[in-house]
Symmetry: C2
Subunit: 158 residues, 2 copies
DNA sequence: CAACAAACTCAAAGCTATTCTCAATAATAA
DNA sequence: TTATTATTGAGAATAGCTTTGAGTTTGTTG
């Protein structure tokens, strides 16, 4: 395990994963840092923000990189990473959830989705956020999240 | 059939359904005006805009008003009415599609949804529409529809 | 009104994202 | 190192929405 871990770590980021906030979050809940969890998280970190993967896609990508993790575990891990706050769960279209890395560099943003090929572009808009806030306030709702999905057709698909 | 039709018509609107655009649309496609189709459409007209029904809910409501239409027919009819342009298909949350009457009085609008009880409020926002347009333009996409879904918790559910 | 395709009903089947089961494994604390 | 117990893998099972099929009914046209 020591060896496997350091291989995984090599892809990963700034600090030593073993003492990272991630591990602390996990341990204080009686949860464990497993190679599978690291693989999923590393995939999102390496692929970069702007990607919105389904559980199935995460699975495929890990298989291709000969880092197979079972689909059941991927579902379990995605749920966990969302709860911890490292991933964000999206409903960009039909056919299940998609996940993206939640980072400081990519704050609240919205999505422009090609309904033909699925290509997805991100954009930010304070106006949209404000509109959501106002609507919630007017109706006495406690806002959780507002997301604008723009369905469109990309240049290649026109 | 003549009698059944006029009963249904009594709920309905301005002009004679038999010569309405609806019927023309149907007939020019070899499609037929059936009591079932009228019942579904009338339900949406009577219930008023601002309602967002699932197929199952349409079914329930028709059963309660002793106007039973089979669920299979409801699914086929909803699809038809969307294609004709009388209904709008929404994905407000998980768990299947919802439908709302598409009318001139309720133009493009957005939804504030209570994640606990499902209560849904509508609101309009030019800023949101503009943001969607701009995002599409910048990326060279042809815009189809932009919808802002605000997930929140309503006063009763807090 | 008769002819005929469209549409209806009821029931069964399909779909597919997600969860469950449980024996085997392995991360952690002591 | 050992004991404890969280986690995994593989696939079967689930769940919910939606579609399809067979046989019957009915709207529409001439
Ligand atoms: Mn994104
Ligand atoms: Mn609406
Ligand atoms: Zn495209
Ligand atoms: Zn509520």
């Amino acid at each position: 395990m020591r060896i496997a871990l350091s291989l995984l770590l090599s892809f990963s980021s700034q600090y030593n994963v073993l003492t990272s906030p991630l591990v602390e979050d996990l341990h204080k809940d009686g949860k464990r840092l497993t190679p599978q969890r690291l693989k999923v998280l590393n995939l999102f970190e390496n692929i970069g923000s702007g990607n919105h993967l389904s559980a199935e896609e995460v699975h495929e990508k890990l298989v291709k990189s000969s880092s197979k993790v079972s689909l059941a575990t991927i579902y379990r891990t995605l749920r966990l990473l969302v709860k911890i706050g490292l991933l964000h769960e999206l409903e960009l279209s039909e056919g299940g959830h998609r996940y993206e890395l939640l980072s400081n560099e990519t704050p609240d943003h919205h999505h422009l989705i090609c309904i033909r090929c699925g290509r997805t572009e991100e954009f930010e808009s304070d106006e949209v956020l404000r509109a959501g806030k106002i609507a919630a306030k007017i109706n006495g709702f406690k806002l959780i999240e507002s997301s604008l999905n723009v369905r469109a057709i990309c240049p290649k698909c026109i």
